[in-house]
């Protein structure tokens, strides 16, 4: 995964400003499950929902597509699947240009887009049969078995004959996932698949995604909750107001956020001087607290230097960024809607 370095993990800076370390990335569409080039969507009202993103999902990855609600994730997914036509840019799915290759590619792609949607007066099973009947590549001889298997995988066998109208939100979500699994897939696009599921259901979906991924299925899974995907993702992309502000492996993203040292002292001014002498750039003094990005310095030596300089250290801590902090730093917000 070499799409873009994660170093300037600053919101708004986006694609253009990032320096790429190492050799220039080679974009070989055959080796990627999803590639977009400058993909953008401006709605008729003039709102720029997606501002030219270069998404790159390698084969076999579990790609966490993160971002607050309204950051352009769903519009991007709709463009990927050919539901919405981009106003600029292009993209490929499984090595084929879209939307020209839709008829060849989409049978190999399972998708859950912006929540499940089914006919309320049909049973869960009848709804799946309807989708299967619409698929020209589906073999009618195996339809029953494939539908049974899909229902079984999401734990809906017992409720298969119930009308969709009577399903709970969690059951609906499961049926949506079952629909994505009607055929063997090479790519799964799951938009907020754990929405409405209880913790147990969320765990089950996570396990299911891991199972599928271990079989070599590429998964693009969007979420506004980092914690839901952190454990299963190999790669992440972070959206913020229509821009892809970071993309890379989970480790790359973690490393992009530097650890900080925090010092509590009765002589903060002296601490600032001592830190500055070490080459660090301390932040503003807040009461008895001084913090600074660690950079290349070793924390042990920083503490020794502080003590050596006569700074009365009460507490010395090393804050290593969790992904949550990275996420918040990138998007500038937690779970708020970005307009």
């Amino acid at each position: 995964m070499t799409a873009r370095s994660l170093e300037p993990a600053v919101p708004q800076q986006g694609a253009a400003g990032s320096a790429v370390s190492g050799p220039a990335p080679r974009l070989d569409p055959d080796a990627t499950a999803v590639t977009t080039t400058g993909l953008a969507k401006r709605f008729r009202g003039g709102q720029l929902a997606v501002a030219g993103i270069d998404l790159l999902v390698p084969h076999g990855a579990v790609y966490g597509f993160l971002g607050p609600n309204g950051s352009g994730k769903t519009t991007t997914i709709r463009m990927l699947l050919g539901l919405v036509s981009p106003t600029a840019g292009s993209h490929t799915l499984l090595g084929r240009s879209m939307p020209a290759g839709a008829a060849q590619v989409l049978p190999r792609v399972g998708a859950l887009v912006e929540g499940p949607a089914f006919h309320p007066y049909l049973s869960g099973r009848a709804n799946l049969a309807r989708l299967d009947a619409a698929d020209r590549t589906a073999d009618p001889a195996t339809a029953r078995r494939r539908i049974d298997t899909a229902l079984d995988r999401v734990g809906l066998t017992a409720a298969a004959k119930k009308r969709y109208r009577a399903y709970s939100l969690g059951m609906r979500q499961r049926l949506g996932i079952a629909a994505a699994l009607l055929q063997p897939r090479e790519l799964l696009v799951l938009d907020e698949p754990t929405n409405g599921l209880d913790p147990q259901g969320t765990r089950e979906v996570r396990t299911l995604v891991q199972e599928l991924a271990s079989d070599g299925v590429t998964v693009l899974i969007s979420s506004h909750l980092l914690s839901e995907v952190e454990q299963i993702c190999t790669h992440v992309g972070v959206m913020h107001v229509g821009k892809l502000v970071a993309q890379g492996t989970l480790d790359e993203l973690r490393r992009s956020q530097q650890p900080r040292v925090a010092v509590e002292t009765t002589a903060p001014a002296a601490a600032v001087r001592a830190l500055a002498e070490l080459g660090l750039t301390p932040g503003p003094i807040e009461g008895r607290h001084v913090t600074a990005a660690l950079g290349e310095a070793e924390p042990e030596k920083v503490l020794a230097a502080l003590v050596h300089a006569g700074v009365p250290v009460r507490q010395f801590t090393l804050d290593e960024a969790g992904l949550e902090d990275v996420f918040v730093a990138l998007t500038g917000e937690g779970f708020d809607v970005s307009g």
Binding site: L83, S85, A103, V113, A117, D135, T137, A138
Partner: protein
């Protein structure tokens, strides 16, 4: 699923080559159209109309005192086949267009409002195929609606009234069998007229995500067309209205059949189907599906 099965799934992603012609989606659509309770209820109401007409006439035996009534009404007591023709005449202006407006208006907009449209498209169903299947479903409903009235009317007529040689509008008598053949032609002609309305409804349905709005718009257009057709000041417009030729099925009951107006009616309907089918196609193949 066992591990062996799972890896078999993953290593065999070869997509089955689609058959040249597959009727599965069409059959599924017909199942949806004719499986919906609402659509069946509408057919039941349509079937009720010849029943009501037959019973009412049997009970009251109306006399032709020159007052207005549907054509054929006073022939019923002489021949049961006229129950079917009377019922078709009664349902043509409003009930039949309403029924067609419901199914055609819902076709695309119904899927859009439920959100199932996006899932059909990512299956994938090509947008052209979706439109074709939706229109085929609406056509089947047009046929079913016209035929249920004709068939129930014929049965009620045979049950309550004498049947026998039929006197046509031109005064000639033909056998009961030949009369039934004429009735079949009438039902087909009326279904064809409804196909024009269904094409308009299909187009309206691609414009909105509200099925109710599409149904109402289509029904209003059907009524509006008939009202405008009645306004003498708009005589110049009348031949262009899609409902202008609806009532010309009477020409099929002459001997020999007067083909002039009927042919024009079929041609006009074909033009309407072509125009609104193309509009619907250009709309659905370019629109962003954001529902």
């Amino acid at each position: 699923m066992s591990a062996a099965e799972m890896s078999a799934v993953a290593t065999a992603p070869a997509v089955r080559r689609p058959p040249v012609v597959s009727t599965r989606f069409l059959r599924s659509e017909l199942g949806m159209v004719f499986g919906r309770r609402r659509n069946l209820a509408i057919l039941a109401v349509l079937a009720g109309i010849p029943i009501v007409i037959a019973i009412a006439i049997k009970v009251t035996a109306p006399v032709n005192d020159g007052r207005d009534g549907p054509p054929f009404l006073f022939s019923i007591t002489a021949n049961g086949i006229f129950v079917a023709l009377t019922a078709l005449t009664v349902v043509l202006p409003l009930f039949l267009p309403l029924a067609v407006a419901v199914v055609a208006g819902e076709s695309v907009a119904g899927e859009a409002s439920l959100g199932t449209l996006r899932y059909l498209l990512v299956v994938p169903v090509s947008r052209t195929r979706l439109l074709a299947v939706k229109y085929a479903g609406a056509l089947a409903y047009c046929l079913a609606a016209a035929f249920i009235v004709a068939v129930v009317g014929t049965l009620m007529g045979a049950l309550l009234f004498p049947i026998g040689p039929v006197t046509l509008l031109s005064g000639t008598q033909v056998s009961y069998g030949a009369g039934l053949a004429r009735l079949l032609l009438v039902a087909l002609y009326i279904a064809a007229m409804m196909a024009g309305l269904a094409a308009i409804g299909l187009f309206v349905s691609t414009l909105t995500e509200s099925a109710i709005a599409a149904m109402a718009t289509t029904a209003v257009l059907a009524v509006l067309s008939q009202v405008l057709n009645q306004v003498p000041q708009l005589d110049w417009l009348a031949p262009w209205l899609f409902s202008h030729y609806w009532l010309d099925y009477g020409d099929l009951l002459r001997d020999p059949i007067a083909t002039g107006a009927v042919t024009k009616g079929l041609a006009a309907t074909a033009a309407y189907v072509l125009i609104f089918g193309s509009l619907a196609w250009s709309r659905i193949t370019t629109k962003d599906v954001s529902s």
